[in-house]
Amino acid sequence: MRKPHFIDCLRRALPAVPRYPRTLLTLLFANLVAALVCLAPFWMAFESYSKRRVVGDGGLLDPHFLVDFLFYRQGSWDLAKGMLPISIGLYALFSVFLSGGVFSVLFQGRGDHAALFWRDAGRFFPKFVMLLVWSIPLFALAPLLHGGVLLALEAIYGPELPAAVEFYGGWAALALPALGWLLYLRVFDYARIYMVTTGQAPASLALYEGVVFVGRRFFSVVGLALSVAVVLALWFWLYAEARGFLPESGWLLILLQQIWMLGRQAARLWLYDAELRLFRKLRTRAPLKAVGLPPRRRLPV
């Protein structure tokens, strides 16, 4: 039995990851800085509450005090909540910016190359943003999927859904857009890969190529992403086990967290590189079929 393509790509991509330490650290640093930006107003709220207070064993957010904290520090809490989506949005854009550099250095396959990284990050950023704009119709599918599931259930069971159907149907209506979102991320990856590998391609065409590639190579694409997800889950389990041996706070805990996050970024790099290899491997075959060459057949012995 032939090994699936994605296994081969993953196998080849894994040893390549350590050749990009600076890229890895850049991704980690971006994540850490963004997290600190998100955290800052919350930290200030915690400080304003606890700096002069005696906090019990239950910690700062012991539910007994939590209600008072949320109520009497509503202003700082609201500010923190309000800033959170802005910080997240900026980070999302910045990660799109970084991805141009990441895909470029991976495409070159010669290890870290700072000049290339930053040049192509800037070069591809507007194109990737256009890609996002072209993706808006795909985003619109999410609520449609959600509503579609509910409508389908109503069509089958009538307006008064049995409780079990309503419960599981509700979860399905949430899960489908979530799965759609994960699939879209793959489309976005392959569209970006198409742009980087072809150099200059309009965003609409890249998106189309991404959709076509994911559609045609669905099992390889999903298999590859799932494999990385499983490795990440194992990595998280290891982190959670190790965390139990450390105190509630302190530098050791922060260090462990960052080691975990470094692994997370390595997995991201691994995924990108494997996707790049998969794209180059499988996309070049497709046209061969398209031009109508007959499949090779072995004659029976």
Partner: protein, 684 residues
């Protein structure tokens, strides 16, 4: 099945003797009245003032009821009455002019006429019993002797009773809303003297609102029939206490016996207050369920073909669960909380005096009928898929179980003293949830999120701790929020505070005594306050006066903590002086921010981990503690053991001498990782 309600044997013609005879009769009435056929030797538990026999048939298709009822009402007061007053509470849903509709802010129940509810009393007949009687001479006195009154199960022939239908009118004792038809008045031909009985017969047509609204109504083939029959008000102190139906209150009635025959489609399952004594199969595809409830002050029932019935026992008490088929997998969960909750409540308050308890799971979509209490019948409410560690259904059931005492047995006036009803119940709910499910996360216990019922109540309370005094007629609170706070949250926190102040043992003793002494009566706030003083041996007037009659807020804070090396003697003539001081001179200032005065503990914390407690009566605006110590003071806090949940702001209860960033850092470390993970979801 004979159920005799014997009147006082006789009463003198002379007023003084007559009064005494009535008083003796009232005192003895519980002891001498024979009970039902179920246990003819037992004494009635309650005064049995309002006793009903009701036949009612459900038209399931039209969501309507046709009924007729006999009421045997006993004037057990020392005052005559020239009229009777009845609740017709289904008329709250009659139109958008009713007091209920106005108070709840609803403009309409819908376009469909079936969405509205109403009750029309079509015939009323009244006959005082017994008629005037013979005179006999006994022991040298001329006495009025009445014949033994007719049996309750042998009411007079309706057609022979005087028809007073045209004398019926509506009154509006609470708000003067002339469009409200929830209180009916019937003048009597002759005043009913103290100790006398009256039979009232009436027929009525009733339409249930669909969907159910505020605690009663129908949804398709599910019916929760509450506040449905013409129910007589409470005659006390020479006047009728018969309030209109309000958005947030509905209960005040006298105890009695209910014999109710309910006819419903044969395939419907039925549950009701009391105990089922007979089921009759009719020829028209219906069944008549005969229920009997003794010593209760209300009667509610439910019916639906979708109920699945589960049975259980707790000692001698039969537990009956009517659960929606689609929630049947949660039946054991319901029964578990009923068993554990009721067992704990009985430990705290004394035995549950009835033979059965019915728990109803309302149909999904009829949530308005959930979380309700009726004598020996409660409604809960759950959703499919609710995790077992989110115990909202359990909290609701425990709340309604507690109502079997504070409402069921102690029938306080919910309209004017709601804290005795909902407040005590909420206090007990918090306590029992903690006892049954643990002191941390009794209501929600999910990973890091562990919320107790008392925390939930505090959350509601601190939104507006000083809105209204607690003791107000319910419809006069300044907002629904104020009602919720003063009916539920604040009393629960205040009683928990009182429990901590008096000690749990004294509080338990107080609660048990309160139930024992006032069960089957209408206790008032002053009864509880006096009893609290009696049981605790302390004058608690200072606490209850502030709590019940003012909107004062309880809030203590530490505003200053100082600790400096003790000064050494210096200057002229000081060389030979030796001061007996510690190494440090400390100063702690505690302030009363609110105007509710309550004694508090103040804890001083030292560098070596040692602590010291001081007591402050809390009656001055602030107090400064100045003292020396060998160790340096690091912090001070009021109420260090969190014994005063009524404190409106726990954030300001403590103060450190020097800032300590560690707790915030510890929390920030945890949140940093959360944010890093969160951001990865958006890393494209």
């Amino acid at each position: 099945m004979a159920f005799l309600i014997d009147p006082p044997r006789s009463s003198s013609l002379r007023p003084a003797r007559r009064k005494r005879a009535i008083a003796i009769a009232l005192a003895l009435i519980c002891a001498i009245l024979p009970l039902s056929g179920q246990d003819p030797d037992a004494s009635p538990l309650s005064p049995r003032i309002a006793n009903y026999r009701i036949d009612v048939a459900l038209d399931a298709e039209n969501h309507s009821l046709k009924g007729r009822q006999f009421l045997l009402w006993h004037n057990q007061t020392e005052f005559p009455t020239s009229e009777l007053q009845f609740h017709l509470y289904m008329n709250a849903f009659r139109n958008n002019l009713s007091t209920y509709m106005k108070e709840s802010g609803m403009r309409s129940l819908g376009e469909d006429p079936g969405a509205w509810g109403h009750i029309d009393v079509t015939e009323i007949r009244v006959q005082p019993v017994p008629p005037r009687v013979t005179l006999e001479e006994r022991d040298g006195l001329v006495e009025e002797v009445r014949p033994v009154i007719s049996h309750f199960d042998q009411p007079p022939t309706a057609a022979d009773m005087p028809d007073v239908t045209d004398r019926m009118s509506f009154i509006w004792p609470d708000d003067g809303n002339v469009h409200d038809r929830t209180v009916m008045r019937i003048p009597l031909a002759e005043p009913l003297a103290p100790g006398e009985y009256v039979w009232v017969y009436c027929t009525f047509d009733l339409q249930l609102p669909d969907p159910a609204h505020d605690r009663t109504g129908a949804l398709d083939d599910y019916f929760l029939v509450a506040q449905w029959f013409p129910k007589i008000g409470v005659f006390e102190n020479g006047a009728w206490n018969c309030h209109q139906f309000h958005a947030n209150s509905e209960f005040y009635a006298d105890f009695g016996v209910y014999e109710v025959d309910m006819t419903v489609p044969a395939h419907f399952v039925l549950g009701a207050s009391g105990v089922e004594v007979e089921v009759r199969h009719n020829n028209d595809g219906t069944r008549t369920h005969a229920y009997r409830a003794e010593d209760v002050h209300d009667f509610a029932w439910t019916t639906s073909p979708d109920f699945e019935v589960h049975h259980d026992k707790l000692g001698d008490i039969s537990l009956r669960l009517l659960i929606q088929k689609e929630h049947a997998y949660q039946a054991q969960r319901h029964l578990d909380v009923v068993r554990k909750g009721l067992a704990r409540i009985q430990e705290l308050l004394g035995p549950y005096p009835y033979a059965q308890l019915t728990v109803v799971d309302p149909k999904p979509g009829a949530g308005a009928t959930g979380g309700m209490e009726y004598p020996t019948l409660i409604t809960a409410g759950t959703s499919y898929g609710t995790p077992s560690r989110i115990r909202l259904m359990e909290a609701t059931i425990v709340h309604e179980l507690a109502h079997q005492y504070f409402y069921g047995l102690l029938a306080s006036n919910e309209f004017t003293e709601v804290w005795l009803d909902e407040g005590f119940t909420t206090y007990l709910e918090c306590r029992v949830m903690k006892d049954v499910y643990g002191s941390k996360g009794s209501t929600i216990d999910l990973w890091d999120l562990r919320v107790n019922e008392l925390d939930v109540r505090r959350r509601g309370f601190i939104l507006q701790p000083g809105g209204d005094p607690m003791l107000l007629p319910v419809w006069t609170y300044n907002s629904v929020r104020s009602y919720v706070i003063n009916a539920y949250n604040k009393p629960a926190l205040a009683l928990t505070t009182l429990e901590h102040y008096l000690g749990t043992e004294v509080m338990d003793d107080l609660l048990r005594t309160y139930v024992e002494r006032f069960k089957f009566r209408h206790p008032k706030s002053e009864d509880f306050v006096a009893l609290a003083g009696e049981v605790s041996g302390q004058d608690l007037g200072w606490f209850f006066d502030q709590l019940l009659h003012t909107n004062r807020v309880l809030d203590y804070t530490v505003i200053r903590v100082r600790s400096r090396p003790a000064p050494k003697p210096a200057g002229r003539d000081s060389e030979a002086v030796t001061l007996e001081t510690g190494k440090y001179t400390n100063e702690v200032t505690v302030q009363r921010l609110g105007d509710f005065v309550f004694p508090v503990k103040v804890q001083f914390m030292y560098e070596d981990g040692a602590t010291e407690i001081e007591h402050w009566a809390g009656d001055e605006p602030w107090k400064k503690f100045t003292f020396d110590s060998e160790q340096r003071l690091t912090a001070a806090r009021v109420d260090p053991d969190n014994q005063i949940p009524m404190d409106a702001n726990l954030v300001n209860n403590s103060r450190r001498r020097l800032p300590d960033p560690e707790p915030a850092e510890r929390e920030a470390t945890r949140w940093l990782m959360r944010f890093q993970l969160l951001l990865e979801l958006f890393a494209w």
